[in-house]
């Protein structure tokens, strides 16, 4: 592979944003048919580099060249997405750019067919897409409005859109961040097929296992610099992690459970609707214990999290927090000693334009620590925010900065500070490390383990089996709204959990995170 002439060549790419050096002299070659993984922590410069390639930014320094039909490298006009598209560069962003009210077919035609044409060439486009789908295995219903499609299907639409524009280089920005393990497996299959047909693929990720499973070559970025460029064959997690974070990978050490009194008892609880429905769930969680809930998203996790967040009303069954009936509202749950981490930080975790300090106290706007006679105690709030920023190592300009300026990891650390305020007896950690880099993930894990060691019960809802196996003392599996009994982690293996996650499905299903480890 390395000997093949490059299809795409980046040389000396440099980019600054104010004081921040996002890219510093990065070289990158990609050959046809090659899958190159761009590995790095959040903020390492991966997305910036790809945005330069795609023409969203103009680099301060460096050149981009792409091979023409004859295979000769020709310079690419920078700063022009149209030029990048015309040269055959396709990009699938982390956040999809699809019109939700249109069907997949219409979304793909957007931008590819002339705007003022009298007739939409639906039949031609459909025929070409049918062929593409047959060749790549990217199966998706082209006529369903995008809003009714799953995340995985939307991603396939995006990829088909890029392919239908005759992409020769496909850039996928953290494509698995939003996918369940099964969908990720399908995606990997499709990527391998596409590469075998000669497509060059650049795959951005910060997950070691999937990079090792998929890529031919791995390029590691750290603080805007290329620190490693090595074949995937023979690479191992430890080496990659060292390149990526600059020091050896710390894995959470499993802690011994200290079974205290029950902090959470679910007795035949049913709640939620549709894919979020939880059916007749029974579970006991003791103080000092971490219980993991494995399962693919959309199997009742939202119903379970909703009940414990105080947002969802139960239809039947009983919920006891420390032996007492649970509250009916979010405020009551917080008052009962429940610390809650939401699944989607940006959607319902933070209000972006509010300051770091304001977001920190948002759950306690009526508490005497925060206000007196309705007036905010600004000095006390500021002091509390400064303490939290220090204690949780939240990197931010200060307590008065709008929280939207913070990175995902730092937002999660602040939300962790909010959830852990007042030493909650029960902690609901719903996908607590989704989308976080290794550094922030380690910090979140350490905090949860500390809280459990301090006597709190932690309910860890996660799709990441590595995380569950490393942290949880017991694991239960959610499938189609049914919760299995929680089994000691020592008695479980990946296959057993995987089978349970797939319901009664065949054993062919094995979560990819687990398969690679």
């Amino acid at each position: 592979m390395a000997l093949a002439p490059p299809l795409l060549r980046l040389r000396g790419i440099g980019m600054r944003f104010g004081d921040l050096i996002a890219n510093d002299g990065i070289d990158l070659d990609v050959a046809a048919g090659e899958i190159v993984a761009l590995l790095g922590e959040n903020g390492a410069g991966k997305t910036t580099l790809m945005n330069i390639l795609f023409g969203h930014y103009v680099a301060d320094a460096g050149e981009i060249a792409i091979a023409d039909e004859a295979g000769r490298l020709a310079p690419l006009t920078q700063g022009s997405p149209q030029a990048a598209l015309a040269a055959g560069i396709g990009m699938v962003h982390q956040h999809f750019a699809l019109a939700h009210n249109l069907s997949g077919l219409e979304n793909i035609m957007l931008g590819t067919v002339p705007l003022f044409g009298l007739r939409l060439p639906r039949r031609e486009v459909r025929a070409r897409l049918k062929q593409l789908i047959a060749e790549t295995g990217l199966a998706v219903d082209l006529d369903t409005p995008v809003r009714a499609l799953s995340v995985g299907e939307r991603q396939r639409i995006e990829i088909l859109k890029a392919l239908s524009r005759r992409a020769r280089v496909l850039v996928l920005d953290e494509p698995t961040a939003v996918l369940a393990p099964l969908d990720a497996e399908h995606l990997f299959g499709a990527i391998r097929t596409l590469a075998a047909r000669g497509l060059a693929v650049i795959f951005i990720s910060h997950k070691l296992s999937e990079v090792l499973a998929l890529a031919h070559r791995i390029v590691v970025l750290r603080h805007g610099r290329k620190v490693a460029d090595l074949p995937a064959e023979g690479a191992d997690r430890e080496t990659l992690a060292r390149h990526m974070i600059g020091h050896a990978l710390e894995r959470p050490e499993p802690t011994a459970p200290r079974a205290g009194p029950p902090v959470l008892e679910l007795q035949g609880v049913t709640c939620g609707t549709g894919r979020d429905r939880l059916r007749d769930a029974t579970l006991t969680l003791r103080g000092g214990e971490i219980v993991g809930i494995a399962g693919v998203s959309g199997n009742g996790q939202r119903g379970l999290a909703g009940i414990l967040s105080g947002l969802e009303r139960r239809e039947s069954g009983r919920v006891l927090i420390c032996g007492e009936p649970a509250g009916a509202t979010a405020r009551q749950m917080v008052a009962r000693g429940v610390g809650r981490l939401t699944e989607d930080r940006h959607h319902d975790g933070i209000a972006g334009d509010l300051t770091v300090a304001e977001n920190l106290i948002l759950e306690r706007t009526r508490s005497p620590q925060v206000q007196r006679h309705g007036l905010l105690r600004r000095r006390a709030i500021r002091a509390e925010a400064e303490a939290a920023i220090r204690a949780f190592d939240v990197r931010c300009p200060g307590p008065d900065a709008p929280i939207r300026l913070l990175s995902g990891g730092n937002i999660q650390k602040l939300l962790l500070a909010r959830a852990l305020h007042g030493h909650p007896r029960l902690i609901l950690a719903n996908q607590p490390t989704r989308g976080l880099d290794i550094g922030a993930t380690g910090e979140v894990h350490r905090r949860l383990q500390e809280a459990a060691a301090g006597g709190a019960g932690v309910l860890l809802i996660s799709e990441d089996l590595d995380e569950l196996l490393a942290l949880a003392h017991r694991i239960a599996v959610l499938h189609a709204g049914h919760l299995t009994p929680a089994i000691e982690t020592a008695r479980l293996d990946v296959q057993t959990i995987g089978l349970a996650m797939a319901g009664h499905a065949a054993g062919a299903f094995a979560p990819i995170e687990a398969a690679a480890s």
Partner: protein, 358 residues
């Protein structure tokens, strides 16, 4: 060869200077654009501009007229600013203003006799309550049934104006009014005192300034204000944090409606003395422009309202002298809104000039 290109890049956080500069420049840009159109009409710019300025601020009379005109605009501007903070799109300031005015004449038009220190507060309270009640319906429809408040508040403006007309031609018509559709005059005890001898400026301005200060404290310094901003910033996050989104919207709506109602009450009790259907030349709508120009900042509503009022008053004076239509003022107000919206873009993005190889 290289070409120069302009690109927009996200700006991390706007500086204080920019927060101030953008609205000021937007206002100036609106004036300049309006002057361009003025030239097209053939008006002599050399005369028009001085007339505009002196008409708005050239004498004690001009200044007091501008401030008189600014008074209702401060109220309606605050009404919009409070509501928009919580993403409650109250477009019904005009209707709430008339509701407030109607309640004010109902209370202060002789129905109750009391000394001024009781009657004036009562009149203002009635106006505030009426404005608040008028917005309560749309807010409840929004929180209960997810009905778009833009539509309901906007349409209620017309309903309210017709209702006022009905009342003024019916039960509330002045028996001494020789058949004109106007209410009975406010009794002297209900009138807001004048601030400057011989001028129309009245104590409504003091109330408006106090309201601006109070709203500023409410939004910035109180737990309720934080909840309003949280609901406006991200309702899902507010809900997760245990803030009652419907409750906060209802309280926000009551505040907003009350402020617009005060605009109407202060106009009849301080300026007109009775109610007619031409009480407001669109103060409710202009309040939206004021709030946008002020970037929804309660304190900034005051200078923004004074600017818009000065344009109205100056344009009036200019149009009388030069025989130009006084629609010129509406033109400036409309342009000010557009320039502010365009200007807000620069708060979020910066323009970067860059060289690219062609």
């Amino acid at each position: 060869m290289t070409t120069l290109r302009l690109r927009m890049e996200p700006r991390p956080s706007p500086s204080a200077l920019l927060m101030l500069g953008v609205p000021v420049l937007s206002a100036l840009a609106a004036l300049l654009l309006a002057l361009v159109i003025l030239t097209v009409t053939g008006a002599p710019l050399g005369q028009a501009v001085p007339l505009l300025v002196s008409g708005a601020a050239g004498s004690l009379f001009a200044v007091t007229e501008t401030l008189t005109r600014a008074t209702p605009l401060i109220f309606t501007g605050l009404a919009a600013a409070v509501a928009f903070r919580a993403r409650l799109w109250n477009i019904g300031g005009e209707g709430q203003l008339y509701a407030g005015a109607l309640a004010a004449v109902a209370v202060g038009g002789g129905a109750i006799s009391a000394p001024p220190y009781l009657l004036v507060p009562l009149v203002m309270l009635a106006g505030a309550a009426a404005g608040a009640l008028l917005l309560l319906g749309p807010v409840l429809l929004k929180t209960r049934l997810a009905v778009d408040e833009v539509v309901t508040t906007l349409l209620l403006n017309f309903v309210m104006l017709l209702f006022v007309q009905m009342m003024l031609e019916g039960p509330m018509q002045d028996p001494m009014g020789m058949g004109w559709p106007q209410s009975a005059p406010m009794v002297d005890e209900a009138a807001l005192p004048k601030l400057v001898a011989q001028m129309r400026l009245h104590a409504g301005l003091i109330l408006a300034l106090a309201a601006a200060a109070l709203v500023h404290v409410l939004i910035r310094r109180t737990a309720l204000g934080l909840e309003m901003r949280a609901v406006g910033g991200n309702a899902a996050a507010a809900r997760f944090a245990g803030i009652s989104v419907p409750g906060t919207l209802i309280i926000t709506g009551l505040f907003s409606g009350a402020l617009a109602g005060l605009a109407g009450a202060s106009e009849v009790a301080g300026l007109k003395g009775y109610l007619t259907t031409d009480l407001s030349p669109g103060f409710g709508y202009a309040g939206i422009v004021v709030a946008m120009l002020a970037q929804l900042n309660a304190l900034a509503v005051v200078p923004a309202a004074i600017f818009i009022a000065a344009v109205f008053v100056g344009a009036d004076s200019m149009s009388r002298t030069l025989a130009i239509s006084n629609y010129f003022a509406d033109l400036v107000v409309a342009l000010a809104l557009m320039c502010t919206l365009a200007g807000s873009l620069f708060l979020r993005y910066r323009l970067r000039l860059m060289r690219t190889p062609a």
